[in-house]
Subunit: 374 residues, 2 copies
């Protein structure tokens, strides 16, 4: 297949041809060249927080270049499957893709640091680690083996623990529980006696309805509401101790990146940072009203008990230490990451935590206080 | 003075001439024009978290345009005084400036919403309000009266409460206290019997040393350490209940903005968002080691008591309600802002707070646990 004509067919189905050079047409006289990229996503349009971040990147690159740097966005499954984004970028069948890298945990557990580690960093801590704490440098070194340069490009807050058909009160209640969860958290759950289930998103609802699984997790109230799980599982637990945040990443084929004009590199990098902060803002905006609607629909909101949290924390440390003891790539990131996390948790325990906790306590008190007479 | 030649002297001292059109030289053949802007700051270089965000904006605009969109950064006092940035942008003596808008509280209290309100939003909540919750639209409508369009462009986390020469245990201990604090927080403090003092940054240290003032606040450990207050006031209180965050803003003269090519507008907007997330990451990175050094220097780290927090919370509600009852501009922002804050506090009390609190508790437990034998 002729390379250039293949690339022009931006909307066509994915062929296996590996191409890494970007689609360059003739540069405008005296100006910068037209560049057409394709960006498959790991999510469908309905997950509009993540999808909005993807669109923002494309829109910003176009606006900043008068439409010359054109990135076409493809929802999951249109040209690349939700879990094949890494492969497609690595092979150069697309120039970039927007995904969460822990989907590729099965290839190599080190990918998880780019998204979330159980009992790991919260959103701000993840940003601090990535942008300032050496995280981006460590992860870029790791991604080099996949012909990829990665950019933080979206995030959630601490996610919800998920939907349970019946209550789980102690760690003992987790034994034998069929829970739809994958990756690193699945390994930790298995240590606690959970039977982790890998089920494609479209198949979760019927499995939960029939009782083929006992529980599932997704993200937060806004996305969860759209998935309808509350209709068949009433107990909504929090937090997702396995996702204190979940960073989205733009993965860019390294040759496509290197072929970009420096100006477009600068624009893409800024657009990803913008998508990162936009995504967390959107997450915080859309979730409160969704949670209220879920509660109005009879959902039982419940914190995981201290017993479950503590047992999970212990199991997590064991799993992380086991992987690190056997896997040099993982250990190379894990050791500085763990030190960073511990310093951040200590730092957040001072002004940040006292401020947040007081605001919450004050709100609860004011809600309990008798209303003033009019 | 001839307008064009004045503008070319980007490094020259500030003259009073009001110019609002941007400095446009001849456009490169077929390309976008060269634009030279000046950006005075409200901080000196030594406050490198804020200053780094300022430089990032300028650097990104240059990199994204091959150097054609050139913004020259001027630390506080070089061409415009730290507290004159708004005036200079409003008058068009400069095209833009990087500042914290609550410095202009004296002109109009509504400016404070762009930076911080006592017992207001934390960093993520401020971003959610600005980018997604209608905050930016409300504030831009307000800024129009000053010929300005504003962009969030940096932030801190919850700040520290400041440096006290002696302990303050209850709200009664605040009576008569000479505290260097200004703006909205100063009004609240006055209600509690504090005597708020307005002192220029360079004069704080000698005033605190001599006991002319009893206490001062600044930002967080990193900036505070550089100011040396720990040498003359040992009690370091937290949190700054008046600054759950402190958003930095790029203020842009509206005519200069409108004269920008659309591409440069898009680049500047993305660069400000990038500076926003970069700034909060830097804040979280540099503060933990600074706090450790301060503690090693004998600083006594103390939370404000519940008595002080509660009395301050009550006084804050009174002050905000009083201003809102008299000031239509303030009320127009305050009412939706307050509703937004209350929803956010409720939302953060679920997964986010349980996650953060557990991480902190787990760390404390693991520090108390006996070390394993080697």
């Amino acid at each position: 297949m002729e390379r250039r004509s293949f690339l022009k067919k931006a909307g066509a189905g994915l062929a296996g041809a590996a191409i890494a050079t970007p689609a360059l047409s003739q540069p405008a006289a005296g100006g910068l060249p037209e560049v057409k990229w394709r960006m498959p996503l790991s999510w469908p349009k309905i997950f509009d927080t993540a999808f909005g971040a993807s669109e923002l990147i494309a829109r910003r690159c176009a606006a900043a270049t008068g439409g010359k740097f054109n990135i076409k966005v493809f929802p999951a499954g249109e040209i690349v499957g939700a879990l094949q984004v890494l492969d497609a970028v690595q092979n150069g069948t697309v120039e970039c893709g927007h995904t969460v890298s822990y989907y590729y945990f099965g290839k190599e557990p080190t990918f998880a640091f780019s998204t979330a580690i159980p009992f790991g960093l919260n959103t701000r801590q993840q940003n601090a680690w990535m942008y300032q704490g050496g995280g981006l440098e460590l992860m870029r070194e790791f991604f080099k083996d996949y012909n990829i340069i990665n950019f933080p490009a979206g995030n959630t807050g601490a996610q919800m623990g998920g939907w349970f058909r019946k209550q789980v009160k102690t760690a003992a209640d987790l034994k034998g529980l069929k829970f739809r969860i994958a990756g690193l958290a699945g390994l930790v759950m298995a240590k606690l006696g959970v039977v982790p289930q890998q089920i494609a998103p479209g198949d979760i609802y019927p499995a939960l309805e029939k009782g083929t699984i006992d529980a599932t997790e997704l993200t937060g109230p806004h996305d969860d509401e759209r998935s309808g799980f509350y209709k068949v599982a009433k107990y909504y637990y929090y937090p997702s101790w396995w996702e204190g945040c979940a960073e989205l990443e733009l993965l860019v084929n390294i040759k496509a990146w290197e072929a970009l004009p420096k100006e477009y590199q600068a624009i893409l990098e800024a657009a990803c940072a913008e998508a990162n902060i936009w995504g967390q803002a959107k997450w915080d905006m859309v979730n409160p009203p969704a949670l209220k609607r879920l509660l109005a629909n009879g959902v039982k909101l419940m914190p995981f008990s201290n017993d479950i949290m503590t047992a999970s924390y212990k199991a997590t440390q064991e799993v992380l230490d086991e992987i690190a003891s056997k896997n040099v790539k993982f250990r190379k990131v894990y050791e500085p990451w763990k030190k960073f996390r511990d310093e951040q948790v200590q730092w957040f325990s001072i002004a940040e935590n006292r401020f947040d906790n007081f605001m919450i306590a004050a709100q609860r008190l004011s809600q309990q206080a008798p209303k003033k007479k009019k």
